[in-house]
């Protein structure tokens, strides 16, 4: 015969209740926090993974931020270069009109007025700023790179360095072109060309005007090459942007799979444990009445 001692009886009922209470608490924490892994001991290996995935998520989101910043800057550069192209095309149109020998010196001087305007506008464009930082100064972004000196000569004050941003760990994409490459680059010096054209117009020098037209053609090619380069940078960023967005989605899903509570399961667990708790309480109520004592009267 197994003897059942009173103490054992009460303590086992009590520990059953305690266990059920503990489970209810656990399920309730999952439901209220939405997290399955809240502390390392909930699932040690998953917690380590959560830390690592959070690091990579942070990096990816930061790369997206970098791209957004840089894309804004590239848009400004892109806009500036298309304006520069338009201005050069207009200058060429004026020069072509002025080249005809039927033009008088006065007429050429009048055209020179407009070309000077274009020259000044072009300098302004080359000094474009974003958030107080000049776009075409290399990395000397705190100075206006192009300065007009004596006799319409323009001097470059920036440097030849470029800036890059990281689009993926270790993957750098160049996002600036130093202004000297755009305006004083490999083919020709745009500002010198315009200055010479201006001088030819003002001195009524027909062959000088013809030479100016040739220089402007070269300048147009050079600016549109830079324009193309900027476009290529932007599309690199765009491509990475899409990959990164997909990566963020995947990482978030993995994080959620590893660390988030399965809400349906947590809620049904919670209900199950509550029912168990009520059943145990009910049983205790009944069992406590089981004694010989009431019958000994």
């Amino acid at each position: 015969m197994v003897r059942v001692a009173d103490q054992q009886f009460y303590s086992s009922l009590f520990s059953d209740l305690q266990h059920t209470r503990g489970r209810i608490l656990g399920a309730q924490e999952q439901v209220s926090s939405g997290l399955r892994v809240r502390k390392p001991s909930d699932d040690p290996s998953a917690f380590g993974e959560v830390v690592r995935h959070k690091a990579s998520l942070s990096k990816t989101q930061q790369a997206i931020r970098n791209i957004q910043f840089s894309t804004a800057r590239l848009d400004v550069a892109d806009n500036a270069l298309s304006q520069a192209g338009n201005l050069l095309a207009r200058a060429k149109e004026l020069a072509v009109r002025a080249r005809s020998d039927t033009n008088t010196a006065a007429e050429r001087a009048a055209i020179a007025q407009e070309v000077r305007q274009i020259h000044r506008q072009l300098v302004g464009i080359a000094n474009t700023e974003v958030n107080g930082q000049t776009v075409f100064a290399g990395t000397r972004t705190d100075v206006s790179p192009f300065v007009i000196t004596v006799g319409d000569t323009v001097v470059y004050q920036g440097n030849g360095e470029t800036q890059s941003v990281e689009v993926e760990p270790g993957q750098l994409v160049q996002v600036t072109i130093p202004g000297d490459q755009v305006f004083a680059g490999p083919n020709t010096n745009v500002f010198d060309g315009l200055r010479d054209l201006l001088a030819a117009l003002e001195t009524n020098n027909g062959s000088g005007i013809a030479a100016g037209i040739a220089t402007i053609d070269l300048a147009l090619t050079q600016v549109s090459a830079a324009h193309g380069q900027i476009g290529a940078f932007a599309s690199r960023l765009q491509a990475s942007h899409e990959t990164l967005l997909a990566t963020v989605e995947v990482t978030q899903r993995i994080l959620s799979e590893q660390g988030d509570a399965d809400l349906a399961k947590a809620v049904s667990d919670l209900q199950r444990y509550q029912v168990a708790f009520e059943a145990t309480s009910e049983a205790i109520g009944r069992i406590l009445n089981l004694s010989l004592l009431p019958f000994l009267r």
Binding site: D6, Q8, P44, G48, A55, S58, S70, P169
Partner: protein, 463 residues
């Protein structure tokens, strides 16, 4: 005549025996919820017969002894279980508290601060000339250093709390052993006088279990009922009515408490590494095998971050042209002293050349690349990889402690149930006993009344 007085004698003897048995039953019922109490049984035996004709005649009943049914094997298992429960319970409590440091699932741990730091470096790389981005980086760096400081402080505070707990446990152990030694003496005296010291034995059993919950104990029962208790590698805790003290001494330098044994000759022996069970073991394990390595690892991580970031930062140029500048305080190479050295955001060296200021971001990009670099000092892991492993290791240790504690609780419950089946009080059983003894008492009373009637009949004959 002698027959009738013998009858009266049997009756009174039985009355006394049943009364005694009822007293034992009452004692059991009264102690139904006393921890460590073992039920007692009145063992009836016949009184010695007297010679007569045609043969020996019985003289009734007496309570021969009051027995305390216990299972020695179970008691030993329970003691061992108390040791394990004390050990796992203590470890579980300490480790669970430390875990709160790793709040990365809720975005407030060191790992999160590291991510934020490198994200801010990246922002400086994207906007090298922007003072706002630099200010944010300084603030994030402060947060990172602060998280390390705080984690270190919490761990050191935990270690001190564990040490206090150890000292307190030592005091409790000394108290228990001196009580057990005193009980030894009383139990021996009672046994020498031929009695069963049941309640004293229960009391001593309870104290030994309480001692076992604190430290590993081996017990030997002597013939005279005294217990000899050993701990560690045969260090005597209690022998007869003598108890031996443990002493907690702060180790020079580190200040952590070392558990010493005082054999009485004045020279103390360190038994820290010999303790194999009980709360002391759990606390020592948590302190020496979890907190201490965790502190070392945090220091390693902090000093590697400081060294690598400084190394890269020194070769760059700040907006003000400064170079060779440390980013973090070079002296702050431990987690608790880590601090940001720069206060002027312009001194953050984002540029790799003096000429490239302010737009050059190459050095900031190299600083950022540290996030993806693995370092030999970190077991060829990245900063956050190393940190993740730390958290995983602590989590695994905590989980093991929790599971061990839960498993031990279940085992302990089973042992307690077995013990209760042998030694526990069942009130139903005792109620039945009351009925039984009451009826016996009534029958004995009836016997006395009958003897009285017989006597009266005899006396009436004389009239």
């Amino acid at each position: 005549m002698s027959g009738i007085s013998q009858l009266l004698d049997i009756g009174t003897g039985a009355l006394a025996a049943f009364q005694r048995a009822l007293t034992v039953t009452g004692h059991n019922l009264a102690n139904v919820h006393t921890p460590g109490f073992s039920r007692q049984e009145a063992v009836f035996s016949e009184r010695p017969p007297v010679d007569g004709n045609p043969g020996q005649v019985g003289t009734g009943v007496r309570v021969g002894s009051i027995r305390r049914p216990i299972d020695k094997f179970l008691e030993d298992q329970l003691l061992a279980s108390h040791e394990q429960r004390g050990r796992f319970g203590a470890a579980q409590t300490v480790l669970s508290q430390i875990q709160s440091l790793f709040g990365d699932a809720g975005d407030y741990g060191i790992g999160t601060a590291l991510n934020d730091f490198f994200a801010a470096v990246q922002d400086v790389a994207t906007n090298p000339a922007d003072v706002t981005a630099r200010t944010v980086l300084l603030s994030r760096s402060g947060t990172l250093a602060g998280r390390f400081n705080q984690a270190s402080a919490v761990l050191i505070e935990q270690r001190q709390a564990v040490d206090r707990h150890i000292s307190q446990s030592i005091a409790e152990i000394n108290d228990l052993t001196s009580q057990i030694a005193a009980l030894n003496a009383r139990i021996r005296d009672v046994q020498l006088s031929g009695q069963n010291p049941n309640d004293l034995l229960d009391e001593r059993g309870r104290l030994v279990n309480a001692l076992g919950a604190l430290i590993d104990v081996t017990s030997l029962q002597n013939e005279d009922g005294q217990l000899t208790l050993f701990t560690g590698r045969g260090q005597l805790l209690v022998e007869q009515h003598h108890s031996y003290k443990l002493v907690g001494l702060a180790t020079a330098g580190s200040g952590v408490v070392d558990v010493r044994y005082d054999p009485g000759g004045g020279s103390l022996i360190s038994i820290t590494s010999l303790i194999s069970g009980g709360r002391l073991r759990g606390l020592l394990e948590a302190r020496d095998q979890t907190i201490a390595p965790l502190l070392t690892s945090l220091d390693t991580l902090a000093s590697e971050i400081v060294a690598r970031v400084n190394l890269q930062h020194r070769v760059g140029f700040g907006l003000d042209g400064s170079t060779g500048v440390d980013f973090f305080s070079p002296t702050g190479t431990a987690a608790n002293t880590m601090a940001v050295a720069i206060t002027d955001p312009r001194r953050i060296a984002a540029s790799s050349t003096a000429a490239g200021i302010p737009g050059n971001n190459a050095n900031a990009l190299l600083l950022r690349a540290l996030q993806d670099t693995t370092f030999a000092a970190l077991g060829t892991q990245t900063f956050s990889g190393y940190y993740g492993s730390l958290a995983s290791n602590l989590g695994a240790a905590t989980q093991t402690a929790q599971r061990d504690a839960a498993a031990q609780d279940i085992l302990h419950d089973q042992l307690e149930a077995h013990r209760a089946a042998v030694s526990g009080v069942s009130s139903d059983e005792e109620l039945v006993n009351i009925l039984k003894y009451q009826r016996g008492f009534e029958a004995a009373s009836r016997l006395i009344v009958t003897a009285d009637e017989l006597l009266r009949t005899l006396l009436d004959m004389k009239r």
